[in-house]
């Protein structure tokens, strides 16, 4: 089962609570500014992520989501369809 772990950089206010909470130290605050001028959190070491969702739970801005495998499949499918059309 695969999960998609996503940080919405437009919602993230860069407070850093998720960075401290992550047991695997996956997250860091970006050195790159987002479109709104914030420095959002990002997955510095995505391969270490165990998808425990603690970061999602801690985030005050609902900026981090983990979607399940089926969703992921559909997304991928949709993406590939688009590719074919293009």
């Amino acid at each position: 089962m695969t999960y998609i772990h996503k940080i919405d950089s437009d919602r993230c206010k860069g407070c850093g609570l998720c960075v401290t909470i992550c047991p695997k130290h996956v997250l860091e605050i970006s050195e790159k500014v987002n479109t709104k001028g914030y420095f959002p959190a990002f997955q510095a070491r995505p391969e270490d992520c165990i998808k425990c969702a603690l970061c999602c739970s801690m985030c005050p801005d609902v900026a981090i989501t983990i979607t399940g495998a089926e969703d992921a499949d559909q997304t991928q499918q949709a993406a590939s369809t688009e590719d074919n059309d293009g």
């Binding site: 999960y3 401290t20 969702a53 005050p60 801005d61």
Partner: protein, 245 residues
Amino acid sequence: MGKTFAKPEALSDQITHYCPGCTHGVIHRLVAEVIDELDIRGRTVGVAPVGCAVLMYNYFTFDFLESAHGRAPAQATGMKRVRPDLVVFTYQGDGDLASIGMSEIVHAANRGEKITTIFVNNAVYGMTGGQMAPTTMPNQRTTTSPFGRNVDEVGMPIKVSELLASLQTTAYIARQTVILPKHITRAKKAIKKAFQYQIDGRCFSFVEIVSTCPTNWGLTPVEAVKWAEEKMLPYYPLGEIKTPQ
């Protein structure tokens, strides 16, 4: 291992106005998740406070009524009495609930109104710029206690949950926090229980959430969490303080 996690339906897409690291956002999400899980969005009315959460109605997708400072429990009483089928909750900060609105919350609790109150205690008036609240910790500096809260002059911080629990009225009263993920899970359970008690018509239900205010405390969000843990939690112990018999 792995969990799915997405924005609840009861929460709107709008990005909140809260400062980075403010835990209002977490508490909002928990309330929204509970409302989704209990499937009560269509019959829920929130009463928004005066305080930093004054604009909270922008972040939810169900009916909301604005309140005057401290009066939310009276408004919720009015609504619930004439429409007992609605699920009515107030969401109030410490200045709002424990200072100007102390009378309203005590009497709503004492009457056993079948409403739910989420009480966000961050030991400071956030909205008006960090003044002293009734829940401000001893020696805590605020803009109106520049030398620290002097308990000889202004008394000790009020433990609202314990105070309400002392009433001889059936109620569900719990204190939780959202400063760490383990707390968040418990806080959500408490909020869910609180709403369930209301839905079942059992009793007044009240969940105090020990919270942070990095901006007015003058701490980074991560430091604020630590401060709450070290300074507030020993004085404001977590757990269920009263449950209905």
